[in-house]
Symmetry: C2
């Protein structure tokens, strides 16, 4: 393995380890020693890649934002201005949150009051949802009495809520749960009696979508 | 002022100060010294009321849960099993989150990964929403094709999302924003073309509802 490959692999291991330690103890109490130990590298190697804990947190957020950008772009590429792109991206985001601790960390750090920097992650998700709903509105997919901005706000609030609730109970992120959300909302958005040609469960077969870490069949605990 | 009154007042000031300090620096870095200083009492007085920072956090959560319970009970008392009780309680919760730092602290501590105890606040809100939607379903207020449990999940996810987004941008909690949410959702829940006799903006005049801390007219920043 050449030197660059090894360095990239170490960097990746440190980001993964930091996301795990932040998730377990929180950002402020997390120690760099615990992170390098978890990654299986020396303290020196950690400091070679990251000068501070804040830089590790930024790396988590950057990687999480890239993952989210990839999945929204893929959904847009498949479905253009159709609401199906939003439905698919929501399923993919929740599936990714359930299995990828770096993306989950990126979302959580965005809400961590102890960090002063502004995270781009939730903001980018919000912008993409707004842009997608505006496109759906212009292409005539939304019912006349449904302003795209109102629809976007409801979708942003509900998806942020699902992500936050999913941290302590992964069933909120399940395909079944997200499908029910769209089954309830889509008819109202399109003004139809049913979901029409839109697929509430996402247009891709379940195998192509990241599976939740825990059982996706159990409804949220009561 | 008799001794008991003074003690109750000091206790209240400490809870308020702790909520402020936790909101500013986070639970883990917050020091008891900063909290007693903010409350204008001695360290000794703080320790007389609270043996630890964790007990202060619990007191915040307990007080927040009581406030939320009072507002849900008041909405139920006014409107019984009607969805109007849910609409009103949502408006009241968001208005309270905007102006009451103890309630906001209770919601945030519920999501703080650094604390191990399970907060009752979100859970109680979820239970009340579920109970209310089940009642609305049984009383025939929900459309036939809308399962009450699905409706409850969407409302819980969206309200938790609004609360979380409202921490950094209070416009998410505004009466206007909550009203739009209900204008979009109510017709789908009831199977009508409009909101019918239900008032999306809440059944009480604005003056009777706690006002958001910041301008309620500006839409969430883009």
């Amino acid at each position: 393995m050449v030197k660059q490959e090894r360095a990239a692999r170490t960097r990746r291991a440190l980001i993964q380890a930091a996301a795990e330690v932040f998730a377990e103890v929180g950002f402020v109490p997390a120690s760099l020693g615990a992170i390098s130990k978890r990654a299986g590298v020396s303290n020196g190697a950690l400091h070679f890649h990251f000068a501070s804990k804040a830089m590790l947190a930024e790396a988590i957020e950057t990687e999480a934002a890239e993952t989210v950008r990839r999945l929204t772009e893929a959904a847009r590429a498949r479905h253009g201005d159709s609401l199906q792109a939003v439905v698919d991206a929501t399923h993919d985001l929740m599936g990714t949150l359930a299995k990828d601790i770096v993306v989950r960390g990126g979302f959580e750090l965005a809400g961590d009051i102890a960090r002063r920097t502004k995270s781009p992650l939730r903001k980018e998700w919000q912008r993409w949802i707004e842009d997608s709903l505006r496109r759906a509105g212009h292409s005539g997919e939304l019912a006349d009495q449904v302003p795209w901005a109102d629809a976007a706000r409801v979708i942003v609030a509900a998806t942020v809520g699902l992500a936050v609730l999913g941290v302590k109970d992964a069933t909120w992120l399940s395909r079944q749960n997200v499908t029910r959300f769209w089954e309830l909302l889509l008819p109202r958005l399109t003004g139809r009696r049913d979901t029409g040609t839109l697929v509430s469960a996402g247009s891709r077969p379940p195998a192509a979508v990241p599976a939740p870490a825990r059982s996706p069949r159990t409804p949220p605990a009561h």
